[in-house]
Symmetry: C2
Subunit: 174 residues, 2 copies
DNA sequence: CACCGCATGTAACGTGTTACATGATTCA
DNA sequence: TGAATCATGTAACACGTTACATGCGGTG
């Protein structure tokens, strides 16, 4: 839904062509989420099929323009007006992995925790570095990286919390 | 990848049949991620196609058992030994949405922030309530809910951070 | 009897990903 | 000239989701 609605939202600014949409999408997210061009075209094809966008001739340079339809506009407005659903949370691979790890005899959950913590801290550093390298004034990209930083920090906190829980359980068991 | 590896990991405990896997998976995650039975069978079919599991006769009650193969065992061991990749983060719909919102003229980013904050706080409450309702001693389920709580808290903090940034930008602009 | 939980699947679809094919333009 | 970037697509595939079909067994 992110790509689909993202492209749709960008098209609300005015007609664009495929490659332009890819660039715009990446620019807004500070290249945090590079977008394969192919996906832009397949997504546009699906949006066209569903009547949310329509081809709109060519620009002076001969690029195939797309514009958003009335239905598409409504769809975007709905998107803006509704919160991203986090109550029925998407399957979190890490949470599932650890939930299984603590219950399986052959797996050392502490090892899994350790490794994940190292990786997450490294990711945190990567995001921080990327943020510093950001051109000043790019609010959108800066906020995106902040989101990743906040999420990674929370993950580290959670991993430490898990560690503590497992240690307590271990000591309590003897 | 979560479901696939999750089922594989569960099968490492010993042969199981489809419905049993569904129950086990849900039990470990405290029913946080209910698993459609259909998906269990399609996933098992794909795992069988790829040689990671194999049919293993029937149990005394006539259930179609699956067991993990040598290749499958290796795959699971790899999974345990590798951290969940968060450096190339999955597309985060909320982050993308806000990154686009701050740059688009027709959209009030503060409104979007407000609505999202309300929804996230509500989700936080839901998770807390669910955690209280948990039977004592279910470590795995408890940790899963903690993960959601930590993530939601981080999201609220980030939303507030965004608000502050936007307010500053607004005042700085006049 | 009717309903529910257990049990095994199949079919169709949505989103996303990669790889490939093709051609124009620009630039060292 | 050769490489990189711009530009438009197609094909095949992975994962996940929902809905549907079908049958068994127990319980109110």
């Amino acid at each position: 839904m992110s790509v689909k609605h993202g492209l749709l939202a960008l098209l609300c600014e005015g007609p664009r062509y495929g490659y332009e949409l890819k660039s715009a999408f990446e620019a807004r997210t500070g290249t945090t989420w590079p977008l394969n061009v192919g996906q832009v075209y397949t997504t546009l094809a699906r949006l066209e099929r569903d009547g949310l966008v329509a081809r709109d001739g060519e620009d002076p340079e001969g690029h195939a323009l797309y514009r958003v339809t009335a239905t598409g506009t409504r769809e975007v407005e709905d998107w803006w007006s509704q919160a991203v659903e986090r109550e029925a949370p998407p399957r979190d691979e890490l949470a599932i992995k650890l939930a299984l790890a603590v219950g399986l005899p052959g797996v050392d959950a502490r090892d899994v925790l350790q490794r994940q913590r190292t990786a997450t801290v490294r990711a945190l550093q990567t995001h921080t570095r990327k943020k510093k390298a950001l051109p000043a004034g790019d609010t959108a990209a800066s906020l995106v990286l902040d989101a990743l930083v906040f999420a990674a920090e929370a993950e580290v906190r959670w991993l430490d919390h898990c560690e503590a829980r497992l240690s307590r359980a271990r000591n309590g068991a003897r």
